[in-house]
Assembly symmetry: D2
Homo-oligomer: 301 residues x 4
């Protein structure tokens, strides 16, 4: 019986890189969580303990911080692409590099109705992220960019139905024509190429996801997600496909009848667990090959 | 040797009450986390297991949901005061009721530049809360209101120094004239009475905390907090005292010199643990007696 | 109108101190989370920003790590007492020091039925902790020790009833003679003095809490907690009082009747929120004065 | 441009199923977290909102609870296989079912040196889990079982080196011949077939992972993981491959030299972020085809 090393990957996860731009009195902040990983021909490191092919995870960390200054941090996609290319160049045994970046959003604090120059408050409304995979050398170099948003908590208080579903002997759910629909949306979209105005694309897609969530009359969370994805693909030719992972955050109507109180869709209990979990992909018929774009992306591979 | 029951309290924690106002097509949402508790003469429940004085926590939960409809939810302080009074009335053995409410903020989703009628996105920027204690019966009834904000994450990228501190043989910290100052602020202020426009007071105090954080040139987090509290007391006569609990979320300057790169206050690593923790009270000389206002408020008693 | 600084405290929280004893091939590990704080006359630090009385939180951190080597770590109570005394001595403006230590438990890994010398696996079954407050100088020095356990998750599948409770118009809870009783226990006991064999006392009290939970036929969680506390006080003269904070982790019987299936106390859903929360103190009639023993202990003050 | 639905899956996540066996006075408890999902031809649900092919997630929940009684819960693998087959049978449009189960371990409470009949304390030492995928109908039915353990926190205080690694201009890490090695292990192994004594296999594999972690002299976490996996494959012919995801939980030696104190590998600070993250697969040369075994398993696909 013979045994061998299969798929593998190693790197430094969750480097909390904070970059301040302070060339003028009006500072800017980029607040990132950066995870990097290399994969490839690392048999010796595993089987004999010989680390001569292994660029330490500590070096990956150092590079992530040094590049924040040397290369700067514009769009997180550009920063991730630069890091991925660097790691492949610095690690001859590596076949691929995976760079994941989350960006936390800050707004300027208001003082007397004006934005302050160097004071900020963290905002909610979703966390922007990207996953970049870089593979190959020289003319074979390929780069894949999947960007997205997580923790986008949305709710509509009407305009959501759920009925006409399949029933079996374990089905007790009543049909409804009016319920609360709420989710903590995770969306990730794969770009067809890297010639993209990343910030503009992200802002528009986020806006589109929100407005479609609001305006689609929902017959199921599946149908809402599909409509959201369809709109993104229709209006964003740079996007090849989009994937969603959306917990159905149940809001159960509370029965107030024991107290002689009617409750026509007004008082709900927000439940924690269990929750529905809807995952869906919306894609173009002629989408480019995904290659390693979705490599090791939790919940999306 | 005799043994007896000391301080005690029981209730239902973290009722996730969601109230939709839908009388017009333009819905409103109040999204709360409600914890209620009673304290008093509950010896029998503990020593003999006789529950005849105990209003079940399940009943407390039912009341929190029923009142969301029967009484409605305006300012969380009013809702909490109403619940507290109710529980004292319904429970003859109780001497005090403690009601804690957190409110999660939602904004309307934008569709074509307009606020949508019934679709919302959860925002960040702090969680509003209140702790209400109600005691006594009839003419002896007293109500205490402590309101506050948590999870208000703020950062300033300059305008913060730390030097001139006490040194002993374990001191290695260099002095600095320019550092990042960041915290996840928890502030709680005790109202002097209950004749308050709660929403207006909260909005103004939150704005004041933010603007003072921005404009105070900081010599230490202690000094920043004191200045923030002082401003609140100066401008809000309805506030008797204010307490802060503020982790000093360290951002360490990264040493890039091994790579021949200068780092003049531009690249930082945001650390998790350990963190400084600064707790302070700012109070009026003539503040009213706190009574049970701070009863069982974690970190503030 | 005059404003002044009230109660205050500052320190370094959550120092993750790991101490290995390796004087022989059979290593030992102490794995701690240490939080330290000073309180006292720190007006200048707050009002003028003058830090000359402030021993930096960074120095507190350094001391916690240095003492792990210089003084060693035996029982966490001794380590905390030593740190508290040190900080008071090093900080003339301080009136009190508060040291909180959590200890994570490890067991030796079994290899061929033998305990390994230097390999360990983290166990559950509760986290031991202590809160030590030290005050005063010279002959006035007082030290208070409150030790405890958290995250002790226990459940009994029968032997628990709940009935005969007070009812009002919002009461719908059915009475029951057989339910699951489960909690994630937090217990903290105040020692009457510091002449205690800390490890022995902790081990015996933990064992007693568990065995009493098991053997008390429960008429309510309140009664179970009281009985547990009473046993501790009866058998441990070194303990002045004991406090509990115990969520009633509800396990609801699932209604399987729609599927023609009986469910005589066999299938439950474990709920997250809301949960009952029972807090109680059991004390001696002649308990010593608590002084600052419970100072700033979340949930217990 | 045409757009279509791609990969999709829906179900009910995190059903907290607790099953008590109480046929004799000596009760038994199975405490599970169950997530179920269906995938297949659900285009209509997404594109037109027609739910006639959709077995509600609520029904999946009901079935998970009902089967806990009707079928009982033995090994979690058997329970998951039964649920998966049921859902495929009940849902004609489904092509595959994915069932994930975590099991929380409880020990009997000791009373006077004896195991109590119906009182339990939750233990640590890792969470057992399984992911079962069932596909096809009739003779085409295939079932895949991947079982594993998570949250297995292990540490060795010596016997770990790291040197001889690749260096570039961003490398500053010193080489070491003696460091702490610690991880919170996640391991998942794919069974070659379903004719397995699940409990016995799990217990032995867990024991083997622990003992190999202890006894392998480590030259890198990669090499330790490989050795652990190799041992499992050598001794467990029922296992086709095993995958690891292991954070390198860094313990940094604290520099006590500023205080004139030596620190020969005795005092460490346990860091939170960043952490190394090592992922590796160990597989047989003649492993069976994985099919959908790793479908949607976060971190392992």
């Amino acid at each position: 019986m013979a045994i061998h090393l299969g798929a593998n990957q190693y790197g430094k996860a969750e480097n909390r890189v904070v970059r301040i731009y302070r060339d003028t009195p009006r500072h800017q902040i980029r607040d990132l969580n950066v995870s990097t990983a290399l994969r490839g021909n690392f048999e010796d490191a595993h089987t004999t303990g010989d680390q001569s092919d292994v660029l330490p995870t500590d070096t990956q960390k150092n590079t992530a911080f040094a590049f924040a200054k040397e290369k700067g941090i514009g769009a997180i996609e550009d920063y991730a692409l630069t890091l991925g290319a660097r790691f492949l160049d610095a690690s001859p045994a590596a076949e691929g590099a995976r760079i994941e970046v989350e960006e936390y959003a800050w707004e300027r604090i208001q003082v007397d109705g004006q934005d302050h120059d160097h004071s900020f408050v963290r905002t909610g409304g979703g966390v922007r992220n990207t996953v970049v995979n870089v593979e190959g050398r020289g003319a074979e170099r390929k780069s894949y960019v999947v960007s997205g948003i997580s923790d986008l908590v949305v709710l509509k208080s009407t305009g959501s139905e759920f009925h006409g579903f399949l029933k079996d002997e374990y089905t007790t759910l009543p049909e409804t024509n009016d319920r609360i629909l709420a989710t903590s949306l995770v969306a990730r979209w794969r770009y067809d190429h890297t010639e993209v105005d990343w910030d503009k694309s992200y802002d528009e897609i986020k806006g589109l996801l929100l407005s479609r969530f609001a305006t689609i009359h929902s017959l199921a969370l599946q149908q809402t997600l599909y409509g959201m994805g369809e709109a993104v693909l229709e209006q964003h030719p740079e996007v090849a496909e989009i994937k969603f992972s959306a917990p159905n955050k149940h809001h159960f109507l509370v029965d107030l009848s024991p107290f002689g109180v009617e409750n026509p869709g007004e008082v709900f209990i927000a439940a924690d667990r269990p929750y529905g979990l809807i995952e869906a992909t919306v894609t173009r018929d002629d989408a480019s090959d995904a290659g390693s774009a979705w490599h090791a992306t939790p919940g999306f591979c």
